[in-house]
């Protein structure tokens, strides 16, 4: 059963087509990794899924209902944004920050219920910030703040959690901790997760399926089946940054800005596929299809 279904989605900003003919589905309880080069429309796709933008064409349905209608009916999608733009000078503690995730669900002029307070305490425990619950947010490290914002995104008990580039600037150990945390939360809260990232290794290790976005969907299947030539085509200028060492054909385009969809190079690097398979999160047979 699909929680999210996207059909023939298109979005244009003024005259510029950002996304077209996007078809995508996410099963209940699955983790979908979305990858693609910079400027490919990943964040736009996330904003469309969140109902923050209106599609130029096509539909996005959450549990069979148009996502914007679902939002207006009180359906909440958990969201961790690309940049942690929150004002750390705000004089609030971690628990209050997490409680703000309930503001919409609770409704105007109503207080947060005891049940919701208990759930927030459980979340604080799950994300490992119990000792910092009453610490001011300005005292948190970047990683701690990120975990607090994940808990904030989950406070309203959403069925779907969307993580937009959550591991940018995080070292390898931090990435592994992040993967463990998301897998744990997914299992305990029966979450469906959409995970947008540039880090192919992490996306592959965390996701049941991946979708390659560059204006449209170029691939939508399990990570292990992703063709190396497609990966090279999409990430010609980015592969070196994701850990492939030596023997990597260098992009020969003198005008390369690292962000564009490059022409496919024959005999492209086969290591790309190995990187995807580096750290599978679980055996293929146990993954939801």
């Amino acid at each position: 059963m699909n929680l999210l279904e996207i059909h023939n989605l298109g979005f244009a900003f003024r005259d510029k087509v950002v996304l077209e003919n996007v078809d995508l589905s996410v099963q209940v309880g699955a983790i979908l990794g979305i990858i693609g080069p910079n400027g490919a429309g990943k964040t736009t796709l996330v904003k469309l899924i969140l109902g923050l933008l209106e599609p130029t064409s096509g539909t996005i349905q959450l549990n069979g209902v148009d996502v914007r209608l679902a939002r207006s009916r009180g359906e909440i999608i958990g969201y961790l944004p690309q940049t942690l733009s929150i004002d750390r000078n705000l004089p609030i503690d971690v628990r209050t920050l997490i409680l703000t995730g309930l503001a919409g669900r609770t409704g105007l002029f109503r207080s947060v219920s005891k049940d919701d307070h208990a759930f927030v305490d459980r979340l604080i425990d799950e994300i490992g910030l119990k000792d910092l619950a009453h610490q001011q947010i300005e005292a948190l490290s970047g990683g701690q703040l990120q975990r607090a914002l994940i808990a904030r995104a989950l406070a309203a008990r959403p069925k779907l959690l969307v993580l937009d580039e959550p591991i940018v600037g995080i070292d390898r150990r931090g990435q592994e901790e992040f993967v463990t945390l998301i897998q744990k939360l997914r299992a305990e809260l029966n979450l469906t997760v959409i995970f947008v990232s540039h880090e192919l290794r992490v996306v592959a290790s965390l996701s049941d399926r991946i979708a390659c976005v560059a204006r449209t969907i170029h691939y939508h299947d399990i990570p292990q089946r992703m063709p190396a030539d497609l990966m090279y085509k999409l990430f010609a200028c980015d592969l070196a940054t994701v850990g492939i060492q030596g023997g990597l054909p260098v992009c020969e385009d003198p005008n390369c800005d690292g962000h564009t969809d490059h022409a496919l190079k024959p005999n492209a690097n086969q290591n790309a596929l190995n990187i995807v398979e580096l750290q599978p999160a679980q055996s293929e047979s146990s993954r939801p299809r």
């Binding site: 909440i76 733009s85 004089p91 503690d93 001011q136």
Partner: protein, 272 residues
């Protein structure tokens, strides 16, 4: 006593809104709203220049000041909310346009009636000695409205202050909260005009919150400190004027709050 009641009410409303103003970096919005009152008054003065029967009808000027300030505030709020312009740019645009309109209205009135229009000095510098009982009651009502709204919608307002985009994805009606805060600021600024004038009204909406954020990193304590600073500032300005009538109340209030801000800054430095 009536004046003190008005000062206290406006100070209380400003103190609470001040924390939002400092957090959202809206420090100059009250300046923009206050000066937009001048634009509204300019329209009234043009009407008075055209229709002699309206001359000396001060209520007309007051209505146009309120309309001008509220209209400009809403326009600033809508432009910034829709991301057509930053709040900073929209304040700048409406501030200069309404001030220019106000000065044109004043000049047309002077050319026609050969005298300064009533209310010009009041808008710029305030006239707290002219505060009436009904004006004080309006101040009390607006302060109560501000307090009740902020307390009732505290979780939505905190969510909005943390990050409007995150608040929106959490189901908060961010547009409603944004415009409501702008309206509260506009109403508070408008009643503050007669006390300190449009040139200094920003101080009431910035200094208490900025000082409180220096002294405490806990929201309940920051609110208490902000209220205390605003009330002490208001009382100090009033007492200074009572002791020496040459000292105007509005500027004395602002300077007292500035003094408290300096003390807060030094205290923070020492505490480090």
């Amino acid at each position: 006593m009536i004046a003190l009641l008005a000062f206290g009410s406006v100070a209380l409303a400003c103190a609470l809104l001040s924390l939002v103003v400092v957090n959202r970096k809206w420090a100059f919005i009250s300046e923009g709203i206050g000066h937009s009152g001048l634009g509204g008054a300019g329209t009234a003065w043009i009407l008075m220049a055209m229709f002699p029967a309206l001359v000396n009808q001060n209520w007309i000027t007051e209505i146009f000041i309120v309309l001008g300030a509220l209209t400009a505030a809403m326009c600033m709020g809508i432009l910034s909310r829709k991301n057509w312009l930053s709040m900073d740019a929209s304040i700048g645009i409406f501030l200069v346009a309404t001030v220019a309109w106000g000065f044109i209205g004043r000049q047309i009135y002077i050319d026609k009636r050969h005298t300064e229009p009533a209310g010009f000095d009041t808008i710029l510098f305030g006239k707290p000695e002219m505060i009436s009982t009904s004006y004080a009651m309006v101040c009390v009502c607006i302060a109560m409205f501000v307090v009740i709204t902020l307390v009732s919608l505290r979780k939505e307002i905190i969510a909005y202050c943390v990050d409007p985009l995150l608040a929106e994805t959490s189901g908060v009606r961010v547009g409603l909260i944004h415009h409501l805060l702008i309206v509260l600021m506009a109403l508070t600024t408008i009643v503050g005009l007669q006390i300190v004038g449009s040139l200094l009204v920003t101080a009431l909406l910035v200094l208490p919150g900025a000082s409180a954020m220096l002294l405490s990193r806990k929201l309940p304590m920051a609110i208490l400190i902000s209220i205390s600073i605003a009330l002490i500032g208001a009382a100090s300005g009033f007492i200074a004027h009572e002791m020496k009538s040459a000292i105007p109340v509005g500027p004395a209030m602002v300077l007292a709050m500035f003094g408290l801000f300096l003390i807060a800054m030094i205290s923070k430095k020492i505490a480090r």
